[in-house]
């Protein structure tokens, strides 16, 4: 028996109601998704059941591997020039800054992205979505952040795609991001979404973040000033890498 969207949505709403009640009792909103989030079926056997053990970061955890221009060519930030022709789809740029919890730029660090093509198909042999591959689009980019933590990718807007979590399950359009901070504890893999996607409320991966304000942090902002006439649409998305310390900041703010 395949689960319906209706059943998955009911499970998600119940969990969000619980999370809302916890906040109403004075708990800080949850900044990260829950690892134990049964509406995302694959999480059921893949989350730890023991509490994580709190540890003081030692030197190795307080530092991060160094990447540089010997590792990444400047051309790798343009996902539209990796083949002979132009890829299909809406050409766009995604730009922003990588910051730490104090607002300091994360300089000269590695940002990696990967995504589906405009039809919602990945260049991956296990992707069985019957949408066409685009011979002019691979969907992988890398960049090293600048002196102000800034990054920019040129790409095309990815399409939404179906998956098998439940019957008629579709992922909202997204770009996968991988980020390194100044400490390895700030390591982050996440996804950037697009404003107004009608699939948000239906998607268990997005909804595994139970706090609406936290979910909104994953949505790129359309910024007309970043659009290039006759060429591309611009989105801005800033990323903050902190770790547990920001949990405390957040909980102080919650009591303001």
């Amino acid at each position: 028996m395949t689960t319906s969207q209706h059943e998955i949505s009911a499970e998600m709403q119940a969990i969000e109601a619980d999370a809302r009640a916890l906040v109403a009792e004075g708990n800080a909103p949850e900044l990260h998704p829950r690892r134990d989030y049964p509406p995302y079926r694959s999480s059921i056997l893949r989350h730890p059941t023991h509490e994580l053990v709190r540890a003081d970061p030692e030197e190795i955890e307080r530092h991060s591997p160094a990447f540089g221009h010997s590792d990444v060519s400047p051309l790798e930030s343009d996902l539209t020039i990796q083949h002979n022709g132009e890829p299909l789809g809406e050409r766009m740029t995604v730009s922003g800054r990588v910051l730490d919890g104090e607002g300091r730029p994360v300089r000269h660090q590695l940002v990696e992205v990967w995504q589906a093509n405009a039809g919602g198909r990945y260049v991956h042999k296990r992707d069985q979505h019957p949408a066409p591959l685009d011979p002019n689009f691979t969907g992988v980019g890398r960049v090293i952040t600048g002196d102000n933590g800034e990054y920019s990718f040129t790409t095309i807007k990815p399409g939404p795609y179906p998956w098998r979590n439940h019957l008629n399950a579709w992922r909202p359009a997204h770009i996968h991001f991988s980020l390194f901070g100044t400490a390895f504890t700030q390591r982050l893999i996440t996804q950037m979404y697009f404003p107004g996607d009608p699939l948000f409320a239906l998607d268990p991966i997005y909804q595994s973040i139970t706090d609406p304000a936290a979910r909104a942090r994953l949505i790129g902002v359309y910024d007309h000033d970043l659009s290039v006439p006759e060429f591309s649409l611009g989105y801005r998305w800033d990323i903050v890498l902190t770790g547990p310390k920001s949990t405390w900041m957040e909980s102080e703010e919650a009591h303001d």
């Binding site: 104090e102 296990r126 595994s208």
Partner: protein, 197 residues
């Protein structure tokens, strides 16, 4: 220079994580990612293991990263983890598991940093794992330092061995082999860490 789009008090709040998903295979792994040193390095070790789920089945779509000090306990600051030159030691490695959930790194045993118990920091990403996990792989030959380690001593004795590699002698190339299996859930669930910043 950049106008914040959110309210100022919300400006520097952590961006949430999301799962690495199933389709990172064409993006994250790279040539040489799992070889922090070449296999012929005189003190190369094999650090390998299998990632298991709560049913005891191997997880075929996990990807691991390690980050560690060098043999002397010095923290690497060399660039070149993505484009290795075969000589420097950058301390960073990345390995996707195979269809049997198995990963292998070629590295060196780290030395003690500031006199502490040496370990390799491990980050685990997988489809179905919504937010990555950190653990540490300690080495069994450092009994005295391990006995004084804050994390090992904080963990109940019954779970402590999940943080220590199992020595397997030396392989055909003469490299010492250590097994570090990772159980995301279940009876032998690995101890995962949450760091106070």
């Amino acid at each position: 220079m950049t106008e914040p789009s959110a309210a100022p008090e919300a400006r520097y709040v952590q961006t949430p994580a999301q799962t690495v998903g199933p389709f990172y295979g064409f993006a994250l792994p790279y040539d040489g990612g799992a070889e922090l040193v070449p296999g012929h390095h005189p003190r190369a070790i094999r650090l390998h293991g299998t990632v298991f789920d709560g049913a005891g089945d191997p997880v075929p779509d996990a990807i691991l990263e390690i980050w560690q000090a060098d043999e002397t306990g010095a923290l690497p600051d060399e660039r070149g983890s993505l484009a290795r030159d075969g000589f420097g030691f950058t301390g960073f490695g990345r390995a996707a598991v195979d269809l049997g959930g198995h990963y292998t790194f070629t590295t060196v045993e780290p030395g003690p940093v500031a006199g502490g118990a040496p370990y390799v920091l491990v980050a685990v990403f997988a489809r179905g794992l919504i937010h990555h996990l950190f653990t540490r792989a300690y080495f069994p030959g450092n009994a005295e330092r391990n006995a004084a380690d804050a994390v090992l001593t904080a963990v109940p004795a019954a779970r402590r061995q999940t943080l220590v590699c199992v020595p397997e002698g030396t392989g055909p190339t003469g490299a010492a082999s250590y097994r570090f299996d990772i159980h995301l859930q279940g009876e032998n669930e690995t101890v995962f860490l949450d760091f106070d910043a």
